[in-house]
């Protein structure tokens, strides 16, 4: 059976051009980029050229970009690195209640070490309130960390406004941009952002490589101890293949961004419209928010998400769910709950992530099979009164 992959927010397929660009560094060009002999020179050049290319796309300096092992690692380094480096100045961090666990858990770990964290609530579109942000700032605030775009519902936060406030109060501003880079224009310097994280596998690059923009002058403590790679910010032998892959992936995305985001938005809107037409009592979460293209979170009342997911899996369709039974930690999605969806509805929430390889035919397949699947599950549900 053909796979209909509609979970591009979870991860994306590696683009063929990316794989091609990576292969020499997985085969003949295997030297450690930090080695001093000529055999390693090509590899070092490839790493630095990739750094220059990615930095140019983000309109930052090469000296401000370091490579990490993942989006999660970038967030850990940014949040904990800033917290530890600035703890003599203050111990208060402001973030949002709908951040990815890599930020939330970093904050919770810091709370155990004496830091105080404010988790700003969001409205039903998933946005934080600028007024509440301002009200939360104290003399001890050293970091604001707000994600660019939400992985579950797609909502884009008012980053520029937050950046302006952070700058005014001289507070460092970190943005987890893992769901934004490659999909929409992201220029941290234009937004007064001091640190910004991303990961290649969300934009058709390989898994196991992330990036972190650290504005020149920002003090940061290392979270990994070791050698002096990446300007002594992140020890560990650089993966040339992954770095080259990430640069190629970003280049491809930037070159086709306008067309692809248009396509994905259209397919997303089409899927939403048709499903709402054909399935009673389903609703689109954060429908009126400014969202990244391709992402839609849909709640189907009276039934549970993992059973919907498995029903679609029977047809080869891959999506993800916000239900407790489909989460690693067996808790319903904090994001869906955070936008005010009641818990029983949060359990019946599915996320579709449309990407550049998806087609209208694939959406039509979902539109054809999902209504029947939902109806079948509803007939079994004690919450559904026919």
């Amino acid at each position: 059976m053909n796979v209909v992959y509609l979970d591009n927010n979870a991860t994306t397929a590696i683009a063929p051009e990316v794989f091609e660009a990576m292969t020499p560094y997985l085969t003949s060009h295997y030297a450690n980029p930090s080695s001093q002999y000529s055999f390693a020179q090509d590899v070092r050049e490839a790493v630095e050229n990739s750094r220059d290319a990615i930095a140019a796309h983000l309109k930052i300096k090469s000296s401000e970009l370091i490579f990490t092992g993942s989006g999660t690692e970038s967030a850990n380094l940014a949040v904990k690195g800033v917290a530890y480096a600035h703890r003599s100045r203050g111990n208060h961090i402001i973030t949002s209640a709908v951040e990815h666990p890599c930020v939330l858990e970093s904050c919770k770990a810091l709370e155990k070490e004496g830091f105080e964290v404010t988790y700003l609530p969001v409205n039903k579109e998933g946005e934080i309130s600028i007024e509440e942000l301002k009200a939360a700032i104290t003399e001890k605030t050293i970091l604001i960390s707000i994600m660019f775009a939400n992985n579950e519902i797609g909502t884009i936060q008012p980053i520029r406004k937050i950046g302006d406030i952070a700058k005014e109060h001289k507070i460092l501003f970190h943005v987890d941009a893992v769901q934004a880079v490659g999909k929409i224009p992201v220029f941290p310097k234009e937004l007064n952002v001091d640190l910004l994280g991303f990961a290649a596998h969300k934009f058709y690059g390989p898994k196991g490589i992330g990036g972190l923009y650290i504005r020149n002058g920002v003090r940061l403590e290392k979270v990994i101890s070791g050698g002096h790679q990446e300007r002594n910010r992140r020890p560990g032998t650089e993966s040339a293949a992954n770095i080259v892959g990430m640069a190629k992936a970003l280049e491809l995305c930037v070159n086709s961004m306008v067309e692809e985001s248009q396509n994905e938005s259209e397919l997303r809107d089409y899927l939403e419209t048709e499903l709402v037409k054909k399935i009673p009592e389903c609703f689109i979460n954060a429908k009126n928010a400014n969202r990244i293209p391709g992402t839609t979170s849909i709640t189907f009342k009276y039934i549970e998400g993992e059973s919907i997911l498995l029903s679609l899996d029977m047809y080869g369709i891959c999506v993800s769910s916000g239900s407790a039974c489909s989460a690693g930690d067996l808790a319903a999605s904090h994001v869906i709950l955070g936008i005010g969806v009641p818990i029983e509805d949060a359990q019946g929430t599915i996320r579709f992530g449309i990407g550049k390889y998806n087609t209208k035919e694939e959406c039509d397949k979902v539109i054809e099979v999902l209504p029947k699947a939902i109806e079948k599950l509803r007939m079994m549900s004690p919450l559904y009164n026919v």
């Binding site: 549970e304 059973s307 039974c325 079994m380 549900s381 004690p382 919450l383």
Partner: protein, 142 residues
């Protein structure tokens, strides 16, 4: 992840529905756990379960275990039916992934609740006690 039997019971669940004027009725769970299970029993004067129906709000494991559980207790007398534990149900399904085992506990508890309901209404002693903590079917004990 799931065995063929689980997939079969998920795609073709047996005994879905309700019974009017059930002799025994049990409901376990709540939405915050993501699991709710209802069992309806028709029991004859010899305490044999003649018919059983279920409704479930829950994941594929919950649905499959409900379906299998109803199959296993049909035709049994109520005391025999109480021996259909979640372990028995899981084994009949060729096992569940470890993280999904808790979903099978609901089926056992819903059956117990339904039989206890019948027993209470008919002044019969059965080997199960009503327990105040059965609001979430134990699925929250992660």
């Amino acid at each position: 992840m799931y065995s063929e039997k689980v997939i079969d019971h998920f795609q073709n669940p047996r005994n879905v529905g309700t019974l009017e004027n059930p002799d025994g009725y049990g409901k376990i769970g709540n939405p915050s756990c993501g699991d709710i299970m209802e069992i309806y029993l028709k029991i004859n004067s010899n305490h044999i379960i003649e018919d059983v129906k279920f409704r479930t709000f829950g994941c594929a494991s919950a649905i499959a275990t409900s379906s299998m559980a109803t199959e296993l207790i049909k035709g049994k007398d109520i005391h025999e039916a109480l021996k259909v534990t979640n372990k028995v149900v899981m084994e009949s399904l060729d096992g569940l992934p470890p993280k999904k085992v808790h979903c099978s506990v609901m089926a056992e508890e819903a059956i117990q609740a339904a039989i206890l309901d019948y027993a209470t209404k008919n002044n019969i002693t059965v080997a199960v006690q009503a327990c105040d903590s059965h609001t979430c079917g134990g699925c929250c004990s992660k």
